[in-house]
């Protein structure tokens, strides 16, 4: 899209801002108005020398931490203005605005159950007790003394999205409760070994130091497989919204189990059957039974460009790109259909393809200017194929609520407007 705009002597950044501010209709007017750009913008375009080359820029230290360009101010978390309350709520990552596989920390999706606590790391403690030989208490300094490791994994809320209308307009509305980061911390296995697990140890109840004192029960197998106690995210200390100073990371498991502000690990023989794992994060089937302890996020993908809320300004070359992920391991293949699901072709996967991480896929595409429906489906290394929404609904019904990993098609109109094909 930006390439098209550049050809028409229009700032791609201006267009992008207008997408964000006014949606596709405003952006479309860019094409109409291309012959008469504002005078102020013309001054900075070839063959003239731009104003920002004629005087020094901001001095060193004007932003000791740093913020994005003011021209990117619309790229922020997607937070509904109609939430019942804001201390138990979620904010979504603007997936359609991001490139690559890493989510910037400021745009990482959020889900809180009792607000975001402000925790002094000097006073934070992790208690490890229950079915262990030696119950232990760790300071943050203690935990940072352990051998550390860094790994890239996605994190996804289990309710991303639901099974009932209204469905969202953008990729972020649909699956923006999804992000991916490089996490640094200590292997949970190492810390459990430090305490010495007793043979009866089958579960670990993790508790957060937030106002919800949220608890989830983790099978011991996962704790000993790839779970981490995390203190850093994308190179910096965790943000408060992500559990500062310490969180649990369970790669591939539903987001709320990755307990933030982690203060206690209670090793037990049985799960807690806490409120979150009985009344909330359970999946209700049409016959009235409900699945409990449904931990894994199954294989899934979504096209992020072009996607809902965007517009193709001209026919011709456009790259289709998106992200795929699976809680069960690596993405093996992503297939893309440009003809409403009749035919599928294999997309190119961008390296690195990591286990339980976002994988970027790309497919070159010549849009002929006619209406089209495009969609992607992920296949993971277990051979699992991402299903359609209709296939999921046929088995699970509309009350299932969590773990919707459906294929999501985008409709492209003759005027280039991209909308949710299932909405």
């Amino acid at each position: 899209m930006s390439r098209t705009i550049d050809i028409r002597d229009k700032s791609a950044r201006t267009t992008r801002r207008r997408f964000l501010q006014g949606g596709g209709a405003v952006a479309g007017s860019v094409v109409v108005g291309a012959g008469a750009p504002a005078a102020a913008e013309t001054e900075n375009l070839p063959p003239n020398i731009p104003n920002w080359m004629k005087a020094p820029g901001d001095p060193m230290g004007s932003q000791p931490y740093g913020t994005p360009s003011p021209f990117e101010k619309g790229v922020v978390k997607n937070i509904s203005k109609n939430l019942k309350q804001y201390i138990s709520a979620s904010g979504r990552t603007p997936l359609q605005e991001l490139d690559g596989i890493i989510t910037p920390n400021g745009l990482f999706y959020e889900r809180h159950h009792g607000g975001v606590p402000t925790i002094d790391p000097e006073q934070h403690r992790l208690m490890l007790h229950g079915l262990v030989e030696h119950p232990l208490i760790f300071t943050m300094d203690d935990l940072r003394r352990f051998p550390s490791e860094s790994r890239i994994h996605f994190l996804e809320c289990s309710g991303n999205p639901g099974y009932t209308k209204p469905y969202g307009k953008t990729a972020s509305d649909l699956v923006g409760l999804l992000s991916c980061a490089e996490w640094t911390g200590v292997s949970l296995k190492l810390v459990l070994q430090e305490a010495g697990l007793k043979p009866e140890a089958k579960w670990v109840i993790a508790e957060g130091a937030d106002a919800a004192a949220l608890t989830r029960s983790i099978p011991i197998e996962k704790c000993l497989e790839d779970a981490m106690l995390v203190y850093s995210q994308n190179g910096e200390r965790l943000r408060p919204q992500q559990g500062y100073p310490l969180r649990l990371l369970l790669p591939g498991f539903e987001g709320n189990m990755n307990v933030k502000w982690l203060r206690r690990l209670h090793v037990t023989a049985e799960p807690a059957y806490s409120r979150e794992e009985t009344s909330k994060y359970t999946d209700l089937l049409p016959d009235g039974t409900a699945r409990e302890f449904s931990f894994y996020m199954e294989a899934k993908s979504i096209i992020t460009r072009p996607s809902g809320g965007q517009r193709l300004d001209v026919p011709g070359f456009h790259e289709i790109t998106g992200i795929a992920w699976s809680g069960h391991g690596k993405i093996k293949r992503v297939e893309v259909s440009i003809d409403d699901g009749k035919n599928w072709q294999e997309a190119r996967l961008q390296e690195p393809v990591l286990t339980r991480a976002l994988t970027r896929f790309r497919l070159p595409w010549q849009w002929d200017g006619k209406p089209a429906v495009i969609q992607s489906r992920a296949i993971d290394e277990t051979g699992y194929v991402q299903p359609t929404l209709a296939e999921l609904l046929a088995v699970r019904g509309e009350n299932f609520f969590y773990h919707n990993n459906a294929i999501w098609p985008w409709r492209i109109a003759a005027d280039g407007e991209v909308t949710n094909a299932l909405a």
Partner: protein
């Protein structure tokens, strides 16, 4: 001193070192021993069978007062819901197109109610209610759902003895369920 006595003393010294808990026992010797008092202070986990429920008790009538003061502004005067979840009713709706999931219709274990109210409620001041008040509020919510009588008083034993209507409706994860 005979060799055997030396051994006994040496063993005693080693055991004392373990017993003081001055140092962790793992390969890295990082962290310190958590004392029983520290664990008791933080371990508020209540099992589904009522294990680790504290001493104390609370009546439905007292729970009605506590609920009016602490809970009704979010959950409604009779637990009908508002900013906070609906807590009451919904029985017989769980297998319909519009399930109403409440404590009475959906929650499988009554002790979980005590656990959650104590750790997370009221939302603006969690862990501020006494154990007696938490028992009382739990009793009131269960009474509104028809699960205990209006004259009931609940404690650890009687709360754990309540069989919730939806207890047997939870099953394991059958995924991959779409092939």
């Amino acid at each position: 001193m005979r060799w055997r006595e030396i051994c006994v003393i040496a063993c005693a010294i080693v055991l004392c070192a373990f017993a003081t808990g001055a140092q962790a026992q793992g390969a890295y010797a990082i962290g310190r021993t958590a004392t029983a008092a520290e664990i008791a202070g933080w371990n508020i986990d209540v099992g589904r069978d009522g294990s680790n429920l504290p001493a104390g008790s609370g009546s439905v009538s007292h729970g009605r007062e506590v609920f009016a003061q602490q809970c009704a502004s979010c959950h409604g005067d009779k637990g009908e819901g508002g900013v906070g979840d609906r807590l009451v009713g919904g029985q017989e709706t769980i297998s319909t197109a519009k399930p109403i999931r409440t404590v009475g219709s959906y929650w499988p274990y009554a002790p979980t109610l005590f656990d959650y109210v104590r750790r997370a409620m009221p939302q603006n001041a969690p862990q501020s209610l006494s154990n007696d008040d938490v028992y009382a509020v739990s009793a009131y919510i269960l009474n509104l759902n028809g699960l205990v009588g209006a004259d009931a008083t609940l404690d650890a034993k009687s709360l754990a003895a309540i069989k919730m209507p939806n207890r047997d409706k939870f099953v394991g994860d059958a995924r991959p369920d779409v092939k």
